[in-house]
Amino acid sequence: MSTNLLALLPEIILTITGVLVMVLEPVIAPGKSRKPLGWLAILGTAASIAATCYQKHVLNTSGVFTAFYSTVQIDAFSVFFHLLIACVVLVTLLASLDYFASPITHAGEYFALVLFGATGMMFMTCSVELLMVFIGLEISSISTYILAGFRKGQATASESSLKYFLLGSFATAFFLYGIALCFGATGSTSIGAIASGLNTTATPTLAILAVAMVLIGLGFKVSAAPFHVWTPDVYQGAPSPVVALMSTAPKAAAFAVLLRFLFNGTPQLRGHWILMVEILAILSMTIGNLGALLQKDVKRLLAYSSIAHAGYLLVAFTGVHKDAVSGALFYTAAYAAMNVGALLVITQISGFDEKLRSIDDFTGVALKRPYLAALLGFFLLSLIGIPFTGGFFGKFYAFSGAIHNGYVGLAIFGLANSGVACYYYLRLLAALYSRPLGDSSAAVLPARTLSVPAAVAVTAAALATLALGVAPNSVLHLVQHSAPETLPAYVVVPAAATVPVATTTAP
């Protein structure tokens, strides 16, 4: 198989599936179930997971390789994120098979958009060329903008979509500015070239400015405070399965870019960005937790919690390269597992109309839906960071990296913050298991049965969360070998003498 094909196999599979779904959608008569399309999408995702696994296999045998003129680089890092994103997408698709009831005719587009979005995210994680990152980012962003407004009937949906779109574009402009400045400082936009260009550049200040701009742009994507403002509103208005997806996969991808950019692209500027990362972490944790503290709407609550978790994840960045990457990666995985799980369970409980919104509505759910409540409880515990869950081990591991590198104060602050955080998770948890109030919506909750795919999905998420907490060895092994190497994609660019582009080709 050609290297180019191999490098992009998962993306290609997803794209083809997406196109297929898109094409088949109009073929199916209106009013008929779009489930087969969903199954097709699931199949495609599974195939892309298999492709990723194959990539990993190749990786193990022949080492890191690049493709498309060093635009993409397949290393353990990207394979990890490919797997993560594909798994999140798979689980989300499984759980949302039955989400769109019959009056919604564009369920097919939903599946296609999810697949395309995933493709974009995967591009983000595997490319070492900032332009490609930007394209990937746009693909994933635009699909999520659309997905956020998918329940068009609701006023909140279009509002959510608009807010996400406007603010997202606003932030994208900053990110783009950052790329421009990178280019200005080093004459290249390839991460490897930036790293080497930084050593010779005449205008290092521009590079510093570039780092700042990229931090702003990606800070928005990972919803780190103070760029978090969109998160609660968008999550509240977006459909629950979409929130499950967009609170995990694009965030993971953005973190992947951030990791690559900061640790591989601008390691020389660590002294400049590390403080900012620290501040972002502190602000995110604090604001996320404080905002969630008095929140009544469950989805908003989880939105704030995801802000806080971005903060925890940023704490991992304070470690040394290897620690930081492995800590952040593990945390991303754990966070993805538990957050997807929690939101998918909420999807199952509250349904398409989302009649159950506030914590009071969830009071006594455990009586009607004991298994779902137990699962949600488990995910909440993981989000709190109770041992023997992925959330705990992730936090433990991420913070060990920080402490190991001397950021004890930051770690203590973060852990204390997680202590405050347990208040709101616990409020929801306690509500789940309380006797229902007389007029709570849970009292009139229809005794819906859980569909098999959805059950498989939430159970898989729960098992993943549990496995990450109890038997994290295999994942740990993967992430500990994931710290991406900086392959010099371009030769060092001289001031302006030789042809700078495309002097190296794909292996």
Binding site: Y145, L166, A173, L176, Y177, G184, P232
Partner: protein, 100 residues
């Protein structure tokens, strides 16, 4: 014989006017326009740097940005239309159902 820096400053001015427009304008479409303005400012930066480095890749970036802007415009305007359908308004100040 204009210093590159002046082009960059010009771009910065445009960029920040774009930010200001985003902040000040109430009409959603105008706000969207201010984003386009910001992108244009970045494009100018790219071109200036491309000129400085004597490299064509900077120009190609601009090209890609245009494509992206066009795509965004399509989607963004569709979103605005969807919003207008449900809310009958284009004023962002009245788009605040969700808060706190």
């Amino acid at each position: 014989m204009v210093p590159i820096a002046y082009y960059l400053v010009l771009a910065a001015i445009l960029f920040c006017i774009g930010i200001a427009a985003f902040l000040i304008k109430r009409n959603v479409i105008t706000i969207f326009m201010s984003i386009e303005l910001m992108l244009n400012a970045v494009n100018l930066t790219f071109v200036a740097f491309a000129h400085m480095w004597h490299q064509v890749s900077g120009q190609i970036f601009v090209f890609f940005v245009m494509v992206v802007a066009a795509a965004e415009a399509a989607v963004g305007l569709a979103i605005i239309i969807a919003l207008f359908r449900t809310r009958q308004t284009l004023n962002v100040d009245s788009v605040n159902l969700m808060k706190n």
